[in-house]
Symmetry: C2
């Protein structure tokens, strides 16, 4: 099985990050990871996305987040340990991730309020 690729922080691009986060499933995963205080397995994170998404798709989403430099994944035996690279990315592009995650929260909050 191929080793996992993680780009260096200097190779990150804003377009890559935006593209990765321009998907509700991926931000949901990333937001959870960013607020978690310990590494999360893929199956744990599958809980935060709408049910019914096949695991092959989830695997691709994780790869997309990895390639964008947003998360770091480590194989530990049969499972995967994922952590966010928030701090690193924030050093390179200060405030970007917070603004995006914040905007998604604002959007979710609004639709929740108007739903009833």
């Amino acid at each position: 099985m191929k080793p996992l690729f993680h780009p260096s922080i200097d190779d990150l691009t804003v377009e890559g990050i935006l593209h990765a986060l321009a998907d509700p499933v991926r931000v949901a995963i990333f937001a959870r990871l960013a607020s978690a205080d310990c590494a999360q397995r893929c199956t744990d994170l599958a809980g935060v996305v709408p049910a019914g998404i096949p695991k092959s798709s989830l695997s691709q989403h994780f790869k997309a987040l990895r390639d964008a430099g947003l998360i770091r994944s480590e194989r530990r035996g049969v499972e995967m340990h994922n952590t966010s690279r928030c701090a690193e990315v924030d050093r390179r592009f200060p405030g970007l991730l917070a603004a995006i995650v914040g905007a998604y929260k604002a959007q979710a909050g609004k639709s929740k309020k108007s739903r009833r």
Copy 2:
């Protein structure tokens, strides 16, 4: 010719905005528009993107920005007057646009410095 469609601010989505701005050509156009103090024609804005992009593609990029709610376009005779919807979007998602445009600037600045 079809009338131009502009979504209401309440219909904007973060994923739509990120997708629209996850493209160097489109942010370049948007950034210029956001910092301009008067409406810009499409051909004026064509100056800020790398030369050689066909006008059909530019037209699509403008449409993408319009559909995402980031710009407003008005036909004035034979030309088009574009303005950014920055203020409106910012009211809905405070700080988002500034963070994205800022990050692109940081990226451009860095590559310029390391280029020589």
